[in-house]
Amino acid sequence: MTVIGRSWSRLTLPGKVIFTVVPVLLASLIALVAVVAILGPTIVDILANNLPIVRFVVAVTVVLLMTVPTAFLIIYMEMKVIALMNLRIGPDRVGPFGSLLSVVHGIKVLMKEDFTPTGADPIVFTWAPVVVYLASVMSLLVIPFAPGLFGQDLNLGLLYFFAIGGLSVVGLLMAGWSSYNKYSLLGGLRSAAQVVSYEIPLTLSVVGIILLAGTMSLNQIVLDQGGWFTDWYLFRQPLGFLIFFIAATAEANRTPFDLTEADSEIVAGFATEYSGMRFGFFFFAEYVNVFIISALTVTLFLGGWNAPFPWPWPVTVNLDPANLGVVLLLLVAIVPLVLTLVFAVPFWLASSRIKGWQALIGGFVLANIFIVAVIGAWAYIGLDWVAGIVWFLGKTYVLVFTFVWMRGTLPRVRIDQLMDFAWKWLLPAALLNLFVTATAIVVVGK
């Protein structure tokens, strides 16, 4: 045996792992640095020349990644809020206040058997949840989250939104048809009938806004609503808002119009034969839809990322951390320490029973809260996209809460009531709204 072989056999298992992994990591790091150093400018050049493509890829990735925590959050919100409204406590075991329960649900769904029934069309059966989920995710691309923070500012954004959102019907029909189960097929047709019926008043109710704004670009519609909250389209299109909200509830299959998956009455409608993560995709898409519908309502009627009123005492912070140079390093190094000591002093002085290390812990916690608050305030004031996203998500989640609240309150309608309401009430009301808006624009002007 050679010297190398003998030394290798003397190593323990962790030693062997470290001896192999560390050099490989080092080598790849060096290779990466070399590649960046040599090819970096070229890569940056290529990316800069194809900025729209890069932007699109990044936007799709971010939106796809964003939907998962969003769905988790809304599922948790639904469980917790409905429980509180039922005088129950709701999830409280996993994570703080049970907030990780929806993550556990996700893991559970992943671990379940992914079953395809005999006789089902495996290709269509597999792609149906993907179509439903992607239809939800893709429609997020045109929603402006904050100034400059949107996937694509299409000048036909609203049309794109409804077109892509309407694709989910295809997914539902695919799921119902490919399951090789007459109840799935019936459920799929039922869902399609509902979604298609409500698509019409939903689309008609926003035509008034298109007339008022003169554009279908969602970003432009949001910009039109700047200033005070009285400029929001909610106050110029109250009937339109009402119709849109009701139709959107039906479109997202939420109570009181959740007949597609009336979980207390029918098995699961179109999703009867689905299990495992393929069912999970339908489930996720439902909650992503809630977010999307709320986001679109906020964008169209509630001013998007605009604050309700301009801040009466405008503050400008001309602080660019990049210009601070070494001072920034010193700040990062010293300020937390100093603040911890400063905030520990009151604890130390408050009572002689509080020991020094306890006061330090209290000071550390307070200092962290203070630093986060200061940085947050600086970001809110200095970066308008931070302020925008705060307002946008705040309004959106208020609407999500409203959807959950409705689910906790309202009983489900019958299928004939559902259809009657869409065709006999919502559609005439939407047409009325459209004609009144058009007349007002002609007579009074915008």
Partner: protein, 225 residues
């Protein structure tokens, strides 16, 4: 009338209700960690239960008698020679239960002569009585006496109604009613019938008389009489 004229008012009311509930204190008890504060004397309602055939569900397992902190539960009867025994053993070894045990083991329903199905009574009378006493449980004895005067006995439904309307524990009402010997839980005819049946068992009557003398009271009464 105005409420029906405004469309959607019901929805608004319902939404307001759930929103109020959202902020109200919750009723859930986190059971293994939190225990409800009940009276240490509370053992639930003492009641012999019957299945759907009218068969007494009691298997004479004596777990309830062993658990009873004040040893008020006992199961006894006369054996085939007229001697009183407490049943600490298999039920089929006792005369009055032998046929029943055979029936029970055969899987057929065992009829019980004491079985009476729960009968709903007209609660208006007891509610009127409670109204005159201002739903005050301090007058419980008077309420119970008037209830007995109104119905002829104290129906379980009436006792439950008293418990609901006065907010008193059912156990307190039941305890009060069972403490006084002039209050009865069955119609007078049923009690008479039980006494007439007891007259056919002379040894038992003699035993109860002797027991009563030994305890220094009057004539001891069978619990079901």
């Amino acid at each position: 009338v105005i409420n029906e004229l405004i469309p959607g008012l019901g929805i608004v009311k319902g939404m307001a209700l759930t929103l109020r509930r959202f902020f109200e204190p919750k009723v859930t008890v986190m059971y293994p960690e939190v225990r409800v504060d009940v009276s240490p004397k509370f053992r639930g309602r003492l009641q012999l239960l019957y299945d759907e055939y009218g068969t007494l569900k009691c298997e004479t397992c004596f777990q309830c008698a062993q658990a009873c902190p004040i040893e008020c539960i006992d199961m006894g009867g006369m054996d085939t020679r007229g001697r009183f025994h407490v049943h600490w053993g298999a039920p089929e070894t006792y005369g009055e239960r032998r046929e029943e045990s055979a029936l029970r083991r055969s899987g057929r329903p065992v009829p019980d002569p004491a079985y009476r199905p729960f009968q709903a009574v007209d609660l208006a009378k007891v509610e009127a009585i409670l109204e005159t006493y201002d739903h005050d449980p301090a007058h419980l004895l008077a309420i119970l006496e008037e209830t007995q005067a109104a119905y002829g006995y104290l129906p379980v439904a009436a006792l439950k109604r008293i418990s609901q309307l006065t907010g008193t524990w059912y156990a307190m009402i039941y305890g009060t009613a069972s403490y006084y010997s002039h209050l009865r839980f069955e119609p007078a005819e049923a009690a008479d019938q039980a006494a007439a049946m007891a007259a056919h068992r002379p040894a038992e009557t003699a035993y109860l008389a002797a027991l009563g003398t030994a305890l220094g009271g009057g004539t001891a009464q069978r619990a079901d009489a």
